[in-house]
């Protein structure tokens, strides 16, 4: 069984820039345990002092908030897409895409 995990840019600094990776975790606690081994810096960042996911991070499974699915008890299924997003995420200085409007690299200086 394999799930696809997606991180926001703010957290990818703890994974050498990796924003998407596969995991065989069976549930959310299992995924956090996997972070301990694979990405200790990420683990330290997203977990509170009790080893639980910080309250400011929301977890979505196939676009559904995991809290509607049973939270920690929810069993991931093969092919699930699991996304971690800080509750008021967004906002970093290294945007990569600028589709229809011109983008001036110089305005990003000082970030």
């Amino acid at each position: 069984m394999s799930i696809k995990v997606t991180l926001p840019t703010a957290l990818a600094r703890h994974t050498d820039g990796l924003k998407t990776f596969d995991s065989d975790a069976a549930n959310l606690p299992g995924l956090l345990t996997e972070f301990d081994a694979k990405f200790p810096a990420l683990s330290a960042n997203v977990k509170d002092e009790n080893g639980r996911l910080r309250k400011f991070i929301n977890v979505y499974v196939n676009d559904e908030d995991i809290r509607f699915l049973g939270g920690d008890a929810h069993a991931f299924e093969d092919g699930d897409e699991v996304m971690l997003i800080p509750s008021i995420a967004g906002g970093h200085c290294g945007a990569r895409r600028w589709l229809s409007y011109p983008y001036d690299e110089s305005i990003m200086s000082g970030c």
């Binding site: 926001p8 840019t9 703010a10 600094r13 960042n45 997203v46 910080r54 309250k55 400011f56 991070i57 929301n58 979505y60 676009d63 908030d65 809290r67 509607f68 997003i85 800080p86 509750s87 008021i88 995420a89 967004g90 906002g91 970093h92 200085c93 945007a95 990569r96 895409r97 600028w98 589709l99 409007y101 011109p102 983008y103 001036d104 305005i107 990003m108 200086s109 000082g110 970030c111």
Partner: protein
């Protein structure tokens, strides 16, 4: 993409880490929301009742306490909406010292969102964004569209697809790019956080959120000034994301700290629709967290099932000795009509929520009749007329002749008499 300012900066609410001034909403250490913090000592003595009175009749009279970059000259006369004594509504619900803060007439787009957007866009320009955006339940969309048009910024606005037609039209008319998302507000908001992560756009309620939220403080400054530089006993405030109610309290705290008002413990009361009541539920249950809900209410402007500032708002309400209530869709419509019939103020569904919750707070004895209470009405009824569809019979056209009018009025009065007879059981 940052600017320096020695008067205010972003700081983490949880761990206290400083971030200067940049388009950022969450702490990179503990992921908690960031908030603008001021060095009030620098403002002390400069921000006085006199300096405020000498300012323009809009929110910029409080510019010294807003995160506005140095040298930025605000353009639009936003805010400074009426605070009206609500004797009619008060009589109906048993309140003798009731006021309505009427942001249904806020300039330029008839909701309190004009306040937050003007502060956010000042910062968007300072950071060099040429495209701005937002996730919105409607009022924010209208305001971002209008104000970005005025400032010459491009706007891309994301809304739930089922939004009221008037709110969609009121966004498109300004030339903004409106994207209807097949989902509820929480889906839209999550998508916007991902977009803000990828595109170099200034999302007023995502990466500009700490600045945006500060604009809400102006509601608090105005209430205090319009009460003659006094704080009320109670504030009743609608809650969607949970930000406004907290910022009014922050505003009162700053005015106390700077000596413009006497210290006073103001109680804060939150209002939600039962069909989307994560914050009022948390207050009632005494939780320090929010259990997200799937919204199902006509009060779409309050339909945020996973409110970003919900936990902090719930905690704050309880700490002030206040309370939160939620009301049904039927009560919301009744609330809209009650405010219109008693005060001549036509508010949107969110205002119906606030009015109905206020009535309940008095009915349940949570607010005493003689206490000074301010009810925050945040949006205009013309944007949600669909909520009142079918409430009024279509009037039959009367021929333009006096005799026809006489007959019409007699029939109308006859109906009223019959109705009164029915209600009183003939006891008159």
């Amino acid at each position: 993409m940052s600017y320096s300012c020695n008067l205010y900066e972003l700081r983490c609410n949880e761990c206290g880490k400083s971030f200067g001034n940049r388009p950022l909403s969450a702490c990179d250490e503990c992921l908690a929301p960031l908030e603008v913090q001021y060095d009030l000592e620098q403002i002390r003595g400069k921000f006085t009742r006199e300096s405020v009175a000498a300012g323009p009749a809009n929110i910029w009279r409080y510019k010294a306490l807003l995160p506005i970059p140095e040298g930025y000259e605000p353009d639009l006369p936003v805010g400074f909406t009426p605070l009206v004594r609500a004797r009619g509504l008060g009589k109906r619900i048993g309140a003798s010292n009731l006021y309505v803060k009427n942001d249904s007439v806020c300039f330029p787009t008839l909701s309190f969102k004009d306040r937050v957007v003007s502060v956010a866009l000042a910062n968007a320009q300072a950071f060099g964004f040429t495209t701005v955006g937002c996730s919105s339940t409607g009022n924010l969309a209208n305001s971002v569209a209008a104000q970005s048009a005025r400032l010459g910024l491009k706007a891309c606005i994301l809304v739930p697809a089922d939004l009221e037609a008037a709110k969609i039209l009121n966004t498109q008319v300004y030339g903004a790019q409106l994207v209807r998302i097949d989902g509820n507000y929480d889906h839209v908001n999550r998508l916007c956080t991902q977009i803000a992560d990828e595109y170099s756009w200034g999302f007023v309620n995502v990466n500009l959120r700490p600045y945006y939220a500060e604009g809400s403080k102006t509601v608090g400054y105005e209430i205090a000034e319009q009460l003659g530089w006094k704080l009320p006993d109670n504030v009743v405030c609608p809650m969607a994301g949970g930000s406004l109610i907290r910022k009014i309290k922050k505003a009162f705290g700053e005015l106390i700290a700077l000596g413009l008002v006497e210290p006073k413990k103001v109680r804060f009361f939150g209002a939600q629709a039962t069909g989307c009541s994560p914050i009022s539920t948390a207050v009632k249950q005494g939780w320090d967290y929010i259990e997200p809900q799937k919204p199902n209410t006509i009060a779409r402007s309050l339909a945020i099932g996973n409110p970003a500032d919900g936990p902090a708002a719930a905690k704050m309400i309880r700490e002030t000795g206040g309370w939160a209530e939620d009301v049904s869709d039927v009560e919301i419509v009744a609330g809209i009509q009650e405010l219109a019939e008693t005060e001549g103020i036509f508010t949107e569904t969110a205002g119906g929520v606030t009015t109905a919750v206020t009535a309940r707070l008095y009915a349940h004895g949570r607010i005493s009749p003689d206490e000074t209470t301010v009810v925050c009405i945040t949006g205009n009824g013309l944007k949600t007329t669909d909520a009142l569809e079918g409430r009024f019979e279509e009037a039959v056209p009367v021929k333009p002749k006096l005799a026809a009018f006489d007959a019409y009025i007699k029939a109308f009065d006859g109906n009223l008499d019959a109705l009164e007879l029915e209600l009183t059981g003939g006891a008159r």
